[in-house]
Amino acid sequence: MKVMALGSPLLRRIPGGRQALENRAVGITSVAIVLVIWWIVTRLGFVSQVLLPAPAAITTTFVELTKSGDLPRHIAVSMGRVLVGFLIAFSLAIPLGTLVGVSRISRSAIMPLVELVRPIPPIAVIPMAILWLGIGEVSKYSIIAYGAFFPIFLNTMTGFAAVDPVHVRAALTLGASRAQVFRYVILMSAFPNIVVGARLGMAMAFIVLVASELIAAESGLGFLIMDARNQFRSDWMFVGMISMGILGYLLNLVLLGIERRVLRWRTVVHAK
């Protein structure tokens, strides 16, 4: 996961009025076109219903699984795991990222280690997690936390390392103590990156979720998909996948909204 450039999506101006409507219309149309092609392909029998169920069949299964309470249960379990894993990552990455961002010595000490561990994908960590932590929830949380840690850590570090010296000097000449410089200037300068890191960390936690649920899970969206494979129920599989897509989309939307709100000053445009 790369460190993202300082909140680049934020720099885009929130499109107002007509443009927003236009963007949305185009977006909905493209989704609709994919659905129509999908429907035609299955309707004309180009592919077997087992390989690619028709949109209508998936919708029916979706409603069934929702009514039976299975899908809501899987979603709740999965979201719980994402949340716990994310919180573990967050509470480790923020202090560590702060330390490494502020102190050059700790940066020299910790960064080589981070650079060595970072390329190891979460899936590769699973066997070790099982060996050390068993096949229960703890190892699932750990794997999610492992995945979510790096974006938060690296962005936090970048934020603290990228404080504009002129802001520090300005605060000092206004009479700020060292503690006040940290609280009002350094922390606030790092804040945008911390928020971006948290959003990327959450996205990562969501991506790693399925990997973590490969371990002897009895519920969760990852389990639903794996179970569907074993039962040869491709419609369940698609319901699981589509649920993840929609959930991830909504989650990102919420986090982007929070980001825009707390970083309102970055979206304002130059007055003419």
Partner: protein
């Protein structure tokens, strides 16, 4: 060398260890200078002559290698609210509203919110930006940002205002207008101003006294006292005479 000097600069010298070559670089040869209370002094010199270094020494942001600076007879050891500073890159906090930027000094001193609001209003009014409290710096033009920077420094009621090429990045028209406004503010707030610039015209327009500095390593080459009463006419013969005098002094100092 009267006891009444607001700022006394005593043999201030600064050497750096260059990060690239690991060699000692002389930034400032011993500088001696007294600045009177309420005086407007311009430090004028080519780029890299150490004039900003001298200003930062007065601010307490840079410690001289030797020598000392006295403000009201007391040695400068650290930055303090008595010496406000305005930066070329304005240095406004982009995450704070204009009002919060101006009220930041008072906030650090623990002033109550309603008192702060009054101060913010007064100083934003002084720089002609009443009603801009709720905006963010990102919404302001370059000239407006500089005015907020000046208001922020003044809101601390400093006795000394240090300005580091504050109008360097502004277009010529805005720059002239800002110089006019700065003189108004200087007269209204009765502060001692030390203004760093490499623009001869700016120095001649603003200063009671111009300190012409040599190219690196910097030292004081000449002092030009200007007694012409203010609002100086930039087209008058008196103005251009002083301009050419300063230009001759500087022309031998341009480093290639």
């Amino acid at each position: 060398m009267t006891a009444a000097a607001k700022i006394e600069i005593r043999s201030v010298r600064k050497t750096y260890v260059s990060g690239a070559t690991n060699q000692l670089v002389e930034a400032l040869l011993p500088v001696d200078l007294d600045i009177a209370h309420g005086e407007f002094v311009c430090l004028l010199g080519p780029s890299g002559c150490g004039k900003s270094t001298l200003l930062n020494c007065i601010a307490g942001l840079v410690t001289p290698t030797s020598g000392e600076i006295l403000v009201d007879g007391k040695a400068v050891r650290a930055p303090g609210a008595d010496r406000g500073m305005v930066f070329q890159e304005h240095g406004l906090f982009p995450w704070m509203t204009v009002g919060d930027n101006v009220g930041f000094g008072p906030l650090l001193r623990g002033m109550r919110k309603d008192e702060r609001a009054q101060i913010v209003e007064r100083y934003l009014g002084l720089v002609g930006l009443s009603g801009w409290q709720q905006r963010f710096p990102g919404e302001l033009s370059g000239g407006m940002k500089q005015r907020v920077g000046i208001a922020r420094a003044l809101a601390n009621s400093p006795e000394i205002l240090l300005l580091d090429e504050p109008f360097g990045s502004l277009d010529a028209l805005t720059r002239d207008r800002m110089q006019d406004e700065l003189l108004n503010i200087w007269q209204a707030a009765k502060v001692t101003c030390v203004f760093v610039t490499h623009s001869i015209a700016e120095a001649v327009f603003l200063a009671d006294r111009i300190v012409v500095m040599t190219a690196r390593p910097g030292k004081v080459k000449a002092l030009i006292c200007i007694t012409t009463p203010r609002r100086r006419d930039r087209a008058s013969s008196g103005f251009t005479d002083i301009y050419h005098q300063a230009e001759r002094l500087l022309s031998t100092e341009v480093v290639e």
